[in-house]
């Protein structure tokens, strides 16, 4: 007979948007499941985690856009290092993208990833399968088999779902399975071989441009197809103001469209390409950093609810791969360990959003969009908790990141707000 494991998270301000809770409570996790949220719960032999003064107890944060790189690109990241990075950033669960080598377009690869995640024993990992075999845009992958193996959504991330017809069929088919299609929206012909946002800075630096419309054109396509099929489309890493407009318009007329924004897209602009380090490849990502009007539109969407959630698009790349000419460097930056500090510093402490909205963006809504357990501290939910420290001063050190890759543009930046502890299934997996 197994022994019951019990953890009491004691004496913190508990904020759970899903249940409308906001007050000083204890949380009891028993055998990995939330058992009670209440005042002065009896200790009764349970392990105690004393919440630091001023800290906030939130349902575990969930990042639905992470590249764990395994299998095949273990020099950039592994499931073990990626989930270590996740819990250090306060994320109790991540959904990982299928553009591994080979592409996660078969149940066997999904099972392999889940096995690695279980061995690592840190964050929960939810694989996302490819929409098309090899992400080539020709033939639908076996979405049903994949879902049965554990995939929670499908995407050809890194590429858009190639044609309107494939997108239509994928939406219909995934709709039948009850899972969303996530799209990396970008018109390939308009993107061309672009490497930076089309605008003054790309022009001044002689970098090939990618217009915002390359993204929004496909967002508009997807919104129309979601409307046609009645299925759920989720737009990944929105960056262009026109895309916000397209999603807002879709939502206004009842289309099942949701979207995410990455921290760098509401924090930085293309101006950063010019200084302090010209051509810093840690500022090269896809979609690119856009201009101030786009950054402001992301903020507005976050404030008015057009944006459903914040996801990092954590995209680790080896230093050797990034230490090259700007146009030859791979797209992407790591994001798991900087997201919470940025959200606190740029959104909460500036008064743009409240703590409850922050938790909704990072926990409640990601769980809802992907139909995941969690995102709440309701009794019976997974015992996943993130203890947030709103006033912790965090100075980012790329070298100290848990991620195997260090490609962050925020090296040396100081933010107000961080993570005090991360608890997964009643086990403390990270303490600051």
């Amino acid at each position: 007979m197994s022994v019951t494991t019990r953890l009491i998270v004691k004496g913190g301000r508990v904020v759970d948007p899903a249940t409308g809770t906001d007050g000083m409570f204890d949380v009891l996790i028993e055998d990995g499941v939330i058992r009670r949220v209440g005042k002065d719960l009896p200790v009764d032999g349970a392990e105690i985690y004393e919440v630091p003064r001023g800290a906030v107890v939130a349902p575990g944060l969930i990042d639905i856009h992470v590249h764990l790189r395994e299998p095949g690109q273990e020099h950039k990241e592994t499931v073990a290092t990626g989930t270590a990075s996740a819990v250090a950033g306060g994320f109790t669960a991540v959904a990982c993208m299928p553009n591994t080598t080979p592409v996660n377009d078969h149940a066997g690869i999904t099972q392999f990833i889940l096995k690695k995640a279980s061995e690592a024993g840190l964050a929960r990992v939810y694989p996302i399968g490819a929409v098309s075999l090899g992400q080539k845009g020709d033939q639908l992958a076996e979405l049903g088999e994949q879902k049965a193996a554990g995939c929670v959504a499908f995407t050809d991330d890194g590429h858009p779902v190639a044609t309107a017809l494939l997108m239509r069929r994928a939406l219909e088919y995934a709709g039948m399975l009850g899972v969303p299609i996530i799209d990396h929206c970008e018109d390939p012909s308009l993107k061309g071989d672009g490497v930076a946002h089309e605008g003054y800075y790309a022009s001044a630096l002689g970098l090939r441009g990618i217009p915002g419309v390359a993204e929004s054109l496909m967002v508009e396509r997807d919104v129309s197809l979601a409307e046609l099929t009645g299925a759920h489309v989720h737009i990944a890493h929105m960056s262009a103001r026109q895309s916000i407009r397209a999603v807002r318009w879709g939502k206004d007329r009842g289309v099942r469209v949701t979207c995410e924004v990455a921290p760098h897209h509401f924090t930085l602009t293309d101006e950063a390409l010019e200084a302090p380090i010209k051509y810093d490849t840690n500022l090269k990502m896809n979609p690119p950093l856009r201009e101030a009007a786009d950054r402001d539109a992301m903020l507005e969407g976050i404030i008015d609810g057009t944006v459903d959630l914040i996801a990092t698009d954590h995209a680790p790349h080896h230093a050797d791969e990034k230490m090259v000419e700007f146009d030859r460097a791979p797209f992407g930056i790591v994001g798991l360990e900087t997201a919470v500090p940025i959200v606190f510093d740029r959104l909460v402490h500036t008064g743009k959003i409240g703590l409850s909205r922050m938790i909704a963006l990072l926990s409640t809504n990601p769980a809802a969009v992907m139909h995941l357990a969690g995102g709440t501290l309701a009794e019976g939910s997974p015992g996943d908790i993130t203890v947030l420290a709103p006033d912790m001063s965090v100075t980012v050190s790329a070298a100290a990141l848990r991620s195997k890759s260090k490609n962050t543009p925020f090296d040396g930046w100081t933010f107000r707000g961080g993570v005090a502890a991360t608890i997964v299934a009643g086990r403390i997996v990270y303490r600051a």
Partner: protein, 330 residues
């Protein structure tokens, strides 16, 4: 550093210009102020004189090693740098892409670090990627001279253009300068815009709407799609090369149509100032962006630009080497 016979001459000419450059690299016109530009142009006057002697060589860079690292095909610029280096008595060595390790998959940084292991003083780099010289300047020890990076900058071209204009017009400030052609892909344009803006010229840019970069107006020029408007009353008309491959990117329908809308002909040139000069950074496409009658005509200073290129590159190398020495002594 050995003094050159022209040293006194330089001192006489420079007047209010600073004695040295602030940066140890020449990565672009961006970062140079008006005084530094004037210093380079004035120094080039003295260097030009060396080219008129029967013995066209001074010992200034004796014992210095300059590596010309050309990752993109170039005849004019590479030859010009080589001639400049030889006239200054530097030990030079030119590496072209075809014979480099780049084709074996070696990274740019590794290639350059291997070259640096042989202790060169300066590296002159031409590269298809914008910012490649900046990467080297950040990560390597040598003085880096940008000989053209992608669509970004080509500083010695802009300097030799300014030198040529100044030789004819005795000034840069207040001149109307029309730059016509592929504005989107041109590093010559970007360097010229920065330089001419700093020196107070009035620049008009002209090209098809498909080849005008986003945000160009923030770099300072007037923008038009009418070559007649651009050329009207111009003191200088600078034509940019059109690459015929651009037709495949849907930038323009045909060479024939391009020439009819944007080609510089004698008839069009009549709208310009009476003493207009016509420039082209080369290589020139006769009958595409410029009519032969104009290219070879009385207003053309195209070959003079090439001659001046040597003097400008001598000046740049001389000033950077001098700065390097000063730094070592300091």
């Amino acid at each position: 550093m050995t003094a050159i016979p022209g040293d006194r001459l330089i001192a006489d000419i420079t007047g209010t210009a600073p004695a040295t450059l602030r940066s140890r690299h020449l990565l672009g016109i961006d970062g140079l102020d008006a005084g530094e530009i004037q210093l380079i142009l004035d120094t080039a006057e003295a260097m030009k004189e060396i080219g008129t002697r029967s013995v066209k060589k001074v010992p200034t860079l004796r014992g210095r090693t300059v590596v010309n690292l050309f990752f993109e095909p170039s005849t004019r610029t590479r030859t010009s740098f080589e001639v400049a280096e030889k006239r200054l008595s530097a030990d030079t060595l030119s590496i072209a892409t075809a014979m480099s390790s780049v084709t074996k998959g070696e990274s740019l940084l590794d290639t350059v670090r291997n070259i640096e292991a042989m202790a060169p003083d300066m590296i002159v780099i031409r590269h298809a990627s914008s910012g490649a010289p900046h990467l080297l300047a950040r990560m390597c020890r040598s003085t880096i001279v940008n000989a053209g990076d992608g669509m970004h900058e080509h500083p010695t071209q802009a300097l030799l253009d300014a030198f040529t204009i100044r030789a004819h017009k005795k000034r840069l400030a207040g001149l109307k300068i029309a730059i016509v052609g592929d504005l989107l892909h041109s590093r010559v344009l970007r360097s010229n815009l920065l330089l001419l803006k700093t020196m107070g010229a009035e620049v008009w840019t002209c090209g098809p709407a498909t080849l005008i970069p986003a945000g160009l107006e923030r770099l300072g020029p007037r923008i038009t799609t009418s070559i007649d408007e651009a050329v009207e009353g111009a003191d200088v008309v600078m034509m940019l090369r059109i690459q015929q491959e651009r037709m495949h990117g849907h930038f323009f329908p045909s060479v024939r149509e391009y020439f009819s809308l944007f080609g510089l002909t004698s008839e069009r040139l009549r709208r310009a100032a009476g003493d207009v000069i016509v420039m082209h950074p080369g290589p020139m496409n006769r009958g595409v962006e410029i009519d032969s009658e104009v290219a070879d005509g009385a207003s053309s200073v195209i070959l003079e630009q090439v001659s001046n290129g040597v003097a400008i590159r001598m000046a740049v190398l001389y000033l950077l080497a001098g700065r390097d020495t000063a730094g070592n002594e300091g």
